[in-house]
């Protein structure tokens, strides 16, 4: 396959997709624009973008279909499957990761749109065998049942403690409400956030 940088004349489809990525992300202009390559035939879906990410402290370079979300890049390309797909449309919070320190729904984020940024996933939270204090508190307070929403809950909890939104039970409940737990372990999750915050 002939690969050639065609920044100046991307296919219509590639253009639309890159525009969509830009529209979905406000901070993209500060970061290197992904290079778009297309085959000579310019067939739909054949374009690839070069995406450079720092994932859990490690530099990763990917040649991606521009349609790939950050969630699918993590799960299907980098085999970082701790981040979960619960709804794929930003309604459940299971896919929450940190991008440059902020909570982001990775299912609503195109991977190409965060090129050059630092991504922390659930796999990057512990220090070797030593769990992050929020992870320890979730274990101790039993802040989970099936565990499928747990990576997202933990990533949100870490961020909200850092952001100063864990001041009271009501504040924790409000700021953890973007993460659905169908098993209903909410009171144990609140206890875990409080415990982690007090230890922090």
């Amino acid at each position: 396959m002939e690969e050639q940088s065609r920044d100046d004349e991307v296919s219509r489809r590639g253009f639309l997709l890159t525009s969509a990525a830009a529209a979905g992300l406000t901070a993209i202009a500060e970061h290197p624009r992904p290079a778009v390559a297309a085959t000579a035939a310019g067939a739909a879906g054949a374009a690839v973008v070069e995406v450079a990410l720092k994932v859990n402290g490690k530099a990763r370079t990917l040649s991606l279909d521009p349609r790939v979300t950050l969630l699918d890049a993590l799960r299907e390309r980098l085999d970082l499957t701790g981040t979960k797909k619960g709804c794929d449309r930003g309604q459940c919070g299971a896919c929450t990761v940190h991008v440059d320190g902020r909570r982001v729904l990775s299912c609503l984020t195109l991977a190409a749109g965060v090129s050059g940024k630092a991504v922390i996933t659930i796999e990057g939270l512990a220090d070797g065998d030593r769990l992050h204090p929020v992870q320890r508190a979730f274990v101790e307070c039993d802040g989970l049942q099936c565990g499928f929403c747990t990576p997202g809950q933990v990533m949100s909890a870490v961020a909200l403690i850092e952001e100063g939104y864990a001041g009271s039970e009501a504040e924790i409940r409000e700021h953890m409400s973007g993460n659905i737990c169908r098993c209903g372990a909410y009171q144990q999750i609140v206890q875990a956030v409080r415990m982690a915050k007090e230890g922090a």
Binding site: A44, L80, R89, L125, Q145, A170, G178, Q187
Partner: protein, 733 residues
């Protein structure tokens, strides 16, 4: 007695992202299947234009009714054809409900499969769908005879004339209670990764019963059950929705076979509402007639539902209150253009308890009697129909202790009498009763040279705490620290006892089923180990006469050796045995009980009902792990409260489309909707049920929770809401 408590042993894997759920498996050369679903509710496919999809990059194959994957058999009776979709995916061009699978695109990547699926154009001949339960319930039919007890009339006496008995009662209540369809919406949508090698299928697919899932897959695919290996150590929520086999797993397996490549199929959230099962809508009429002193004379419980799956009469009414005249009946609305009805947490029990416990509250109001006193007047010591005594029932203590903890005596008997600023405050209570039981099952216990012992059974842990319960029970049976036990579950290769136990973790019976079998298997395994110690070459105890097992060590002939050391000395990889638990003692009836107490606050201007406080006191036999048991109860209560507060699958009558098939429009409780739920366990071990004394708790919290909420809403506002969910529009009307 202090209840044992322990952190869940699977928690570390779950908080680090290491726990591998079905769709977390990425195999070499794996491809992706994406389903396409129908956009009409009734009719047939006339044509499908696949040209654009076939031309799209990366597309490998497109399965349609005209290019069907090979399914050779049907789901095995007696349960699966009733509780799951008996029709094969893509069986023909007929459309039975909106959202039915009409194609599956297989492509090299997830994006290619998804976007090619969007390029398929289907032309239909559409007929008006029969999708409105409101319309269909006007003309219900007798239920089919399936051999299952569901749907069969229950009468006491056999020739009861319930209308006459009700008319002869001094005080009567007769009302109808309606519940909309609900969807499990477990956080993990159904997903499967399937791979074939040498005619054998390995499939990663979340299930409550690995052995049943393997059998169902094998039967439909036309292979031997032993040639299907289901791997499901972690299940991202199930609630009955993963008890049976659904299309995504069947399609993944069939496509992987045809293409000779591993195939991953992940159901989208929207598809989950239609390609897997749900709880059908129900409409229940309760007639209660009492003497002036509150003793029940007559109970009429007539239900209409989409199918026999949800039979609140059978599941609820014979377990609650004593009455001489009883008439329980189910009618169904068959052949509706709706997705398949299946079991969902407390099937029948949740709906039935909402209606019965609401009706009892209405009766208490009419009698001018305290709701707890009314319930105690009609207390059941043995089952209503067979008069079989209950093994161990402390529901009276649940009422007493719960009333005390909650402050029930401070409740105003006048509704709409208590306000706190803009909020009307009310208190309500209800009873939860859930049949308990256990299957006779088989467990394997194996000693290993590294000093650990494996305890294995083909059950499942969808968040229930089973991993931890198995480890704790194994430690107790083998008298070793729990960190030396390696539990094994979620694998169809592990033992089960045969037909009465293949369904694994269903009916709140996993703990009561598996733990007594662990005790039996441990005893058998210890026997084998002692025999090994006295006979195996290299053992320091060869020929010793009185060798015994004591706390992980073999003791005899003035010496002792740990089992790990023994197996190391004898160069043996493992010594173990299977054990099968004794059948259930059928002389008694078994049930778990709880008394729920709820405070609701209703905004007087907006009608917004909020959960204020909740206390539940639980009599569920021995509590084997207080930490996970508490979580099961609080989560169960919230599951039931969600029915009262939020949940409703909205079916458009004209199209059969579920208009809110996503998590923004189908409301589930979020953290800010909830409050601390106070749980108290009575802890009376039920030793007649089993030597571990544990009954079921998984569904108990859910039972009755909606009625406690609705009764509190009445106490707060004077408004009796008989149609769930209890939304502000109903309270402002």
């Amino acid at each position: 007695m202090a209840q044992p408590t322990m952190d869940r042993i699977d928690a570390r894997a779950k908080v680090t992202g290491a726990a591998k759920y079905a769709s977390d498996h990425n195999l070499p050369a794996m491809v992706y299947g994406h389903m396409v679903t129908s956009t009409i509710g009734n009719g047939r496919i006339v044509s499908m234009d696949l040209s654009a999809a076939r031309a799209a990059g990366g597309v490998i194959e497109i399965y349609t009714p005209g290019n069907r994957p090979a399914f050779r058999g049907t789901l095995p009776p007696p349960l699966a054809p009733v509780f799951a979709e008996a029709r094969h995916p893509l069986a023909d061009s007929e459309i039975h409900y909106y959202g039915q699978i009409v194609a599956m695109v297989v492509a090299e990547t997830i994006e290619q499969a998804r976007d090619a699926a969007a390029l398929i154009k289907v032309t239909y001949t559409a007929l008006p769908p029969k999708s409105s339960f409101e319309d269909a319930k006007q003309n219900p039919a007798d239920p089919p005879v399936t051999g299952l007890p569901l749907g069969q009339p229950i009468k006491k006496p056999q020739d009861v004339d319930i209308e006459t008995a009700l008319a002869a009662s001094q005080v009567r209540v007769e009302e109808t209670y309606d519940i909309p369809p609900r969807h499990h919406n477990m956080m993990e949508p159904h997903a499967a990764v399937a791979a074939w090698q040498n005619g054998k299928l390995t499939i990663y697919s979340g299930t409550q019963g690995p052995a049943a899932h393997a059998l169902e897959l094998a039967t439909v695919l036309g292979v031997q059950p032993a040639d299907v290996h289901v791997i499901s150590p972690y299940v991202g929520g199930a609630f009955g929705g993963k008890a049976f086999t659904w299309a995504p797993a069947l399609l993944a397996a069939a496509a992987a076979l045809a293409l000779a490549r591993p195939v991953k199929v992940v159901t989208s959230r929207e598809q989950l509402f239609t390609v897997t099962g749900h709880r059908a809508a129900s409409s229940q009429t309760f007639g209660l007639g009492t003497h002036r002193d509150g003793r029940l004379n007559a109970i009429k419980h007539h239900t209409t539902s989409q199918s026999i799956v949800e039979d609140p009469g059978y599941r609820t009414t014979p377990k609650y209150y004593l009455a001489p005249n009883v008439d329980i009946r189910l009618m169904v609305t068959p052949d509706m253009n709706l997705p398949t009805a299946t079991i969902m947490r407390a099937p029948g029990d949740e709906a039935g308890s909402f209606a019965l416990e609401s009706a009892m509250d209405e009766l208490a109001v009419r009698l001018g009697m305290d709701p707890i006193e009314l319930r105690m007047k009609n207390y059941l010591e043995s089952t209503l129909i067979e008069a079989k005594p209950y093994s161990s029932k402390h529901l009276d203590a649940c009422y007493r202790v719960g009333a005390e903890r909650f402050g029930w005596s401070r409740r105003s008997t006048q509704p709409a009498a208590v306000t706190d600023g803009d909020w009307q405050v009310g208190l309500g209570m209800s009873t939860a009763i859930l049949d308990s039981g256990r299957a006779s099952t088989t467990v394997r216990v194996t000693f290993r040279p590294n000093g650990t012992a494996t305890v294995g059974c083909a059950t499942s842990d969808a968040g229930t705490g089973m991993w931890t319960i198995m480890a704790m029970t194994g430690a107790r049976a083998l008298e070793v620290p729990v960190d030396r036990i390696r539990p094994a579950l979620g694998d169809s290769g592990l033992p089960v006892a045969g037909n009465n136990d293949i369904y694994g973790a269903v009916g709140s019976a996993a703990t009561s089923t598996v733990t007594p079998a662990i005790l039996v298997a441990a005893k058998e395994a210890i026997g084998k180990l002692v025999e090994h110690a006295t006979t195996a070459a290299g053992s320091p105890l060869v020929g010793a006469g009185d060798v015994r097992y004591d706390g992980g060590r073999l003791v005899g002939a003035g010496t002792s050796v740990g089992f790990g050391e023994l197996l190391t000395l004898t160069r043996t990889a493992e010594v173990g045995a299977q054990g099968t638990s004794a059948p259930l003692d059928e002389s008694h009836a078994y049930a778990s009980y709880a008394a729920h107490f709820c405070e609701v606050r209703v905004n007087r201007w907006t009608g917004d009902p909020r959960l204020g406080r909740f206390t539940t006191v639980v009599d569920a036999g021995a509590i084997l792990n207080a930490k996970t048991a508490r979580n099961q109860i609080t989560g169960g209560v919230l599951f039931g409260l969600a029915a009262a507060m939020f949940e409703e699958g909205k079916v458009e009558g004209a199209t059969g489309r579920i208009s809110n098939a996503n998590l923004a429009d189908y409301l589930l409780p979020v953290n800010a909707d909830t409050t601390e739920i106070d749980v108290h366990f009575l802890d009376h071990p039920d030793t007649r049920l089993s030597p571990t004394g544990a009954r079921g708790i998984g569904e108990l919290g859910t039972v009755g929770a909606a009625a406690a909420f609705a009764n509190a809403v009445y106490n707060a506002t004077g408004k009796r809401i008989r149609t769930l969910p209890i939304t502000p529009d109903k309270l402002l009307a």
